[in-house]
Symmetry: C2
Subunit: 336 residues, 2 copies
């Protein structure tokens, strides 16, 4: 669950301090299975179900509160991608984001309620976006999740623990962000009705991978490295020039443009107007948004066969302060 | 996931036959881990995650199609309960319902898409209602689920396998429903904001159980039978006269009024208008709606302290035909 909030209009540095002080306590209590102070249903905190809560700061915080902490240059809306974007105001970037993840929807619902009600005099909700991955126990070991196009999604990712500089900011970041990261949240509508009409050849050409296993068209299994040089009998590239795999491959560009993809599926269900309202909450974490994320995003906007079936309808950028130790407050460098 | 659909206006018996012939094939394939005929993402059917699909027939089917099968007297909207109901047209009863349950949201989303697109020329969607229980692996063994009030919910239920006549219709039912059941689906909004203001004494008085364990106020553990005769030091009943437990207890009325409760939580998340839009999809199955379900519903509407915090906003009744063997079609007695 992603909650997008705006600070109240009269917010200043002390508003931020109070909000993050409360949220730090809440998150620590909820994640350790205790109900926070003001929790009237502490029993519901007992099942943590792997709960994690991640807080982010959007550009508006700097515009609004007059804090003097260093503002990173990238902390602003992404550049427009007019060839693909149809952004809707209701999914706009917000002053703050809270990402709540757990293996059980009940745990998420409770945490969400506690965090919202504790923030209500300091910030107001703009949107909530709910996503899911395959439930624990139903994943296929070693295989990335499937999205609603049936595609294996999120294969190319840094290895956990080995590629820390890809995700975490180092000494060159503003003080308050050192050890933190940046988050891009894009809501990408997927048109299941037109996708349904695409045959498997078109689908696999567009992606550059097979639907069945997620293997690149030049390989056998999902994690085989795509061979972008391979050609077929008549000399055409096996992995098409405008396929998603080729356009998004970091290896083609020296490998700086890597980042951590953590996509979730959203499905608002059918309505009288449409048989589906579904897609991807594309979430990316990276130390350097401009050098890592943006080049890939630009290549995809420029030409990616999958764009025929997908439409970005929401876009937001947040700075994610590092986690805290006992006694610290999340994001505290921001107002000090 | 519950999908409420209406038949197309020109529907007749053959529309029903075609629809249920397709849905029978789809459900059999999906539940056995194969993609149905028209499934363009058959890989997504491979993980069944305990998928079950249940189909129901609403009153409108008889009004619309001119079928001559026996119409059960109870297959109509519930009587109005003006003391509690604030029913919204958008959650009205529909001609058909499809209930899709699985341990993974991805499995549900795929099944939903397949069933909807295969029905699109025969029926149109009116609403979808999404609910959840505690995820597999996060349940507390032996304890019923918690709802968003923190209450242990659904304790008083017939034992699986031992109380079949409570749920399944026998020889006295219309032919096409023999071996089937009836479903009541009530959408009950729960006001988390006012509930939050109730102290634990008021909460437990209203329910008649402790919030911590779900034990009746006269007992130690959830499944202890409430002692409705017990009084406190000054002679007042320990389980209040207007508590939910006492009003809903079947034991008080000879035990005919038992049925299978299978509640799910819904949570549409916060919006700019309200900090929460959440509640219960109250689902009840019973062989005889009028003798089993209605007496309890009437007692609760008449006086149940929990009504102060809850509001029924949707209500629907469906007949659920029995499951089928190879070669049969769901509900086929309906048009024969």
């Amino acid at each position: 669950m992603w909650l997008g909030l705006d600070l109240v209009e009269e917010a200043d540095a002390s508003t931020l301090r109070r909000l993050f002080t409360i949220w730090t306590d809440d998150a620590a209590a909820l994640m350790s299975g205790r109900g926070p102070l003001a929790d009237t249903e502490p029993e519901m905190a007992a099942v943590t179900a792997g709960l994690t809560i991640t807080f982010g700061v959007g550009p508006g915080v700097f515009d609004l509160t007059g804090i003097t902490a260093d503002r990173p240059g990238w902390l602003r809306p992404l550049p427009a991608f007019p060839s693909i974007d149809q952004l809707e105001e209701r999914w706009r970037g917000t002053d703050l984001v809270v990402q709540i993840c757990a293996d059980s929807p009940l745990t998420v619902a409770h945490a969400q309620w506690v965090l919202l009600k504790d923030a209500r005099s300091l910030a107001r909700i703009v949107w909530c976006q709910k996503g899911f991955r395959e439930a624990v126990g139903t994943e296929v070991p070693g295989r990335s999740m499937r999205n609603l196009f049936g595609q294996v999604d999120g294969t190319v990712n840094p290895a956990a623990g080995q590629d820390d500089p890809v995700v975490w900011m180092c000494a060159s970041a503003p003080d308050w962000l050192r050890g933190g990261t940046s988050m891009v949240l894009r809501r990408i509508a997927m048109n299941l009705s037109t996708w349904e009409q695409a045959d498997s050849v078109s689908r696999e050409l567009a992606l550059g991978r097979t639907q069945a296993t997620g293997a690149p068209l030049t390989g056998q299994v999902e994690h085989d490295v795509p061979d972008l040089q391979a050609t077929d009998a008549i000399g055409l590239p096996v992995i098409d020039t405008f396929s998603h795999v080729r356009r998004s491959m970091p290896h083609e560009h020296g490998g700086v443009d890597r980042f951590l993809r953590r996509p979730y599926t959203y499905d608002e269900g059918p309505s009288a107007h449409a048989l589906s309202d579904a897609g991807l909450l594309f979430v990316a974490f990276q130390a350097d948004l401009e050098r890592q994320f943006l080049p890939v995003q630009r290549r995809l906007a420029e030409a990616d066969r999958l764009n025929a079936w997908t439409t970005p309808v929401g876009s937001a950028v947040y700075a994610i302060p590092r986690g805290v130790r006992e006694g610290e407050v999340l994001a505290e460098g921001l107002w000090r």
